[in-house]
């Protein structure tokens, strides 16, 4: 018996890890869009991490070139009215925008899931109170609510994150509630109770991980919205303050120059914004396939 004890735990484990890469490759190959979206996603991450060290000019330094110069060899995306390099500003802004959206989505995912799990599992008053709370949030036009929160709590980047998290909370809470409540009395949940799991462990150890595949889709779509939302807030002058580069601010500043024909000020940050949202929207299905054990044959 004892010599048997060692064999199964080591060999097949290594196999599963290898299987995981195999699985990732399979998911990529099966749907080319997934492959593309993963590529774009890692590209974005790389830009966010390394971008600031690689850009040709200091993004906040004025007068690195003549003002309002169209795209060219020395300034790929042109320069703005203060002579700042648009390319450097767009690249450096990636980190801030991703940081805002990732932290906002993480916050709303964590708290939304907790609220939703309790509501779906325990039902009754927990469900009613949290449900009405979420309905109240959703009753407001979400962007206006975010504006209100930032305006009331103070104009800072943290508050943008909190505001974005709050307006996204109901989506996670509702989804977690639905996914938990359909599994509340599943056979494996009953079995977990028989195995001596406490109610909380049944909920977070057994049921919640099974709700992850649909949550992943929600997360990735939400990342896109969160970026748009953050950009939208800074576009109207809330949150991130100039001269800090951020896509929403870049678009806002450039908007003044569209009429006079300096299109590059708006188009390049706009494109970056679009690309990021597009990537997150595309990556959802791939992420779901990746976390769904059923797909790992």
């Amino acid at each position: 018996m004892s010599n048997l004890a060692i064999t199964p735990s080591t060999a097949p484990r290594a196999q599963t890890r290898e299987g995981y890469w195999h699985h990732l490759r399979y998911i990529m190959a099966e749907n080319p869009l997934t492959g593309i979206s993963f590529g774009l996603f890692f590209g974005l991450i790389a830009v966010a991490i390394f971008g600031p060290y690689l850009v040709p000019f200091d993004p906040v330094a004025t007068g690195v070139g003549p003002a309002l110069q169209p795209p060219g060899v020395s300034h790929w995306f042109g320069t703005d009215h203060l002579g700042r390099d648009v390319f450097s500003r767009v690249v450096v802004a990636t980190r801030l925008d991703l940081l805002i959206s990732v932290s906002a989505v993480t916050l709303s995912f964590v708290f939304g899931s907790i609220i939703g799990c309790f509501a779906g599992y325990f039902g009754g008053w927990t469900d009613r109170i949290s449900g009405r709370l979420m309905d109240t949030i959703m009753a407001f036009p979400l962007f206006v609510l975010a504006m209100g929160i930032v305006a009331a709590a103070g104009n800072s980047i943290e508050n943008i994150v909190y505001a974005t998290a709050i307006i996204n909370l109901p989506f996670y809470a509702r989804m977690a509630r639905a996914e938990v409540s359909i599994r509340r009395n599943a056979g494996f949940v009953q079995a977990a109770r028989l195995s001596g799991n406490s109610e909380l462990r049944v909920l977070f150890g057994h049921i919640f991980p099974n709700t992850l595949p649909p949550m992943m889709v929600q997360i990735s779509l939400n990342m896109g919205w969160a970026i748009l939302n953050a950009a939208g807030l800074s576009f109207i002058g809330l949150g991130v303050q100039p001269p800090m580069p951020e896509w929403g601010i870049l678009v806002a500043e450039g908007a003044n120059f569209i009429i006079s024909g300096e299109w590059w000020l708006v188009v390049f940050p706009g494109m970056a914004l679009m690309l990021a949202v597009f990537t997150f929207n595309l990556i959802g299905d791939g992420l779901r396939d990746l976390v769904d054990p059923q797909r790992r044959t």
Partner: protein, 564 residues
């Protein structure tokens, strides 16, 4: 001779999967004559359903017909366009599916759904649809057809839903009816009613029927001719009588053998090779002192007087003694699952006491029982092995869970050894321990469920229809495993089922329940041979009786008795 209604020649179907192309059915030929009832029998994965999907041209995207011909009334089905096929489905060939509730649209009145079929095939207009639909509801013997027309599927029982599905399938008087496991998941008495209805109606309209089932007994009782399939091949075909009484192929014999009938012993279900390996069962031991004692147990749902008030279990008292197996039999809704949940302490009782190992566990709220010292002594094997395993956990993780929670002080190495010991105890190959539930077969999942249940060496194990979702040959093995484990670990069983033939294989004593009360109780052979109540008699009568099977089977057991 007139040409057959449906003629399939050398049909092959391929499925494209992640690991290349899989041939689901390989060059099978069959034919159905007008007015004939053909039974296709096989275990899961034999390709019996795929055959019917190929006929109806409803294979899913990955599947495609790789070769062969299907002709229906002289037409080549595989050449017909989807538009014409839509006309044929329902009007010429109809299909009844396994889960009637899933086959009905939940938000549309059942009567309207029947009328829709008629209108779709120009058999009725919107104006006449209602009358014709009610006519069909009457034909499938639904009482109060006028009123039931307005019912939604959730308001009807499973048997009623299946009747509605049959009414839909037969509304346009098709020539051929394909019934794919039409009674799986229904009670025996409902199964009998539904099958009798199908037989009666198809005879009345002179229709041909293909009955697809895993239950050889059912197929033999209702079909003229049987076709046995295994792994995409036709193993044997013959008239029901001949196939049942003198099977030619080993697979057919094994299948016949594994189907429990009135006189078989649990070991008889195994193949001769498996029997040779099986342990000798000890002579029946005298059960010891009472292990579990249930006294006037009662469960009410909802507040009395409110619209939702419902008494699921009323005044139930029984004992289970140490080393005894007690069978709890009844149709769905009789309160047997409620009873098991209460004993298992997953559900609070309304009244009454449950004394287990000298302690009244009914007094402990279900929510707190998870941490109770007796939790490990009271375990359960669930009905659906797929549903009862966490889809994200490997087999090993599932088995180790009770050890982690209920004996947290156990060293990791001991735990590892215990998992291996449990795996070998239930006959689960060690290399499968790292697999996820969807990578295991039904029988393997059942073994994982059993290993998890016996991990804490329980005194009482509740078996809630542990083999209902399994193929007969797997059922045979699992039942034998349970019998072995009972003797090896000295457990007592409470076996819950609606199938008396299965229950009596493992149980010494049987309790028959109806409407939350005990109707009859006694020794297994008393209940089976001399039932005292009409209800028990009706349960026994509903078990399908294959043609002239009893004589041959008795002969069979005599032979085996002689051999022993």
């Amino acid at each position: 001779m007139t040409p057959p209604l449906l003629d399939i020649q050398r049909l092959s179907v391929d499925f494209a999967t992640r690991r290349g192309t899989v041939r689901a059915i390989d060059s099978i030929s069959l034919s159905v004559a007008k007015g004939e009832t053909l039974g296709i029998v096989g275990e899961s994965g034999s390709g019996k359903s795929v055959t019917s999907y190929a006929v109806m041209n409803i294979l899913d995207r990955a599947g495609k017909i790789a070769g062969g011909k299907i002709s229906y009334g002289g037409m080549s089905m595989h050449k017909i366009s989807e538009r014409d096929m839509r006309d044929i489905r329902g009007r010429e060939i109809s299909m009844i599916f396994q889960n009637p509730r899933a086959a009905l649209n939940p938000i549309r009145k059942v009567g309207q759904q029947i009328a829709d079929v008629l209108v779709q095939h120009n058999q009725a207009t919107r104006a006449t649809g209602r009358a014709k639909a009610i006519e069909m509801l009457l034909a499938v013997k639904i009482k109060d057809a006028e009123k039931r027309y307005e019912a939604y599927p959730f308001e009807l029982s499973g048997g009623m839903c299946q009747r509605v599905v049959i009414a839909m399938a037969l509304a346009c008087k098709p020539q051929l009816l394909i019934a794919d496991e039409p009674t799986t998941g229904l009670d025996v008495t409902t199964q009998k009613a539904v099958m009798d209805l199908i037989t009666e109606l198809t005879a009345k309209f002179n229709m041909s029927t293909i009955l697809i089932t895993h239950d050889l007994g059912l197929a033999a009782a209702y079909c003229d001719r049987l076709l046995v399939m295994e792994k995409g091949h036709v193993v044997e075909q013959n008239t029901s009588e001949a196939l049942f009484n003198s099977p030619q192929k080993a697979y057919t014999k094994q299948l016949l053998n594994a189907t429990p009938h009135r006189d078989s012993y649990v070991r008889d279900l195994l193949t001769p090779e498996q029997q040779a390996q099986a342990l000798a069962l000890p002579a029946s031991t005298e059960p010891g002192a009472a292990l579990l004692s249930v006294k006037s147990l009662k469960k009410e749902f909802g507040k009395p007087g409110s619209g939702h008030h419902h008494v699921a279990v009323r005044d139930l008292s029984f004992d289970i003694r140490k080393g005894e197996s007690l069978g709890l039999v009844g149709e769905s809704g009789c309160g047997k699952s409620t009873t098991s949940s209460m004993i298992m302490r997953l559900l609070d009782t309304t009244e009454g006491s449950i004394e287990f190992l000298g302690q009244d566990i009914a007094a402990i709220p279900a929510k707190q029982f998870a941490r109770h010292a007796l939790r490990g002594k009271l375990q359960m094997v669930f009905q659906d092995p797929t549903d009862s395993l966490n889809p994200r956990w490997s087999a090993e993780r599932s088995i180790v869970d009770p050890l982690l929670r209920l004996s947290p002080d156990m060293p990791a190495a001991d735990r590892q050894a215990r998992v291996l010991e449990l795996a070998s105890l239930v006959g689960l190959p060690v290399e499968l321990l790292n697999r996820f539930p969807h990578q295991l077969s039904g029988g393997q999942k059942a073994r994982v469920g059993i290993a998890r249940a016996v991990a804490m060496e329980p005194e009482l194990l509740i078996l809630d229809e542990p083999t209902a979702a399994l193929d007969v040959s797997v059922q045979a093995v699992v039942l034998n495993l349970l019998e072995d484990l009972k003797h090896r670990l000295g457990m007592s069983y409470l076996f819950i089922s609606h199938d008396l033939n299965v229950v009596r294989l493992l149980c010494d004593r049987i309790i028959v329940m109806q409407h939350g009360e005990i109707v009859e109780q006694g020794h297994a052979h008393e209940i089976m041979d001399t039932p005292k109540t009409d209800y028990t008699r009706s349960l026994l009568a509903a078990i399908p009786h294959p043609p002239a099977a009893d004589a041959s089977i008795t002969g069979n057991t005599e032979l085996q008795d002689g051999a022993l």
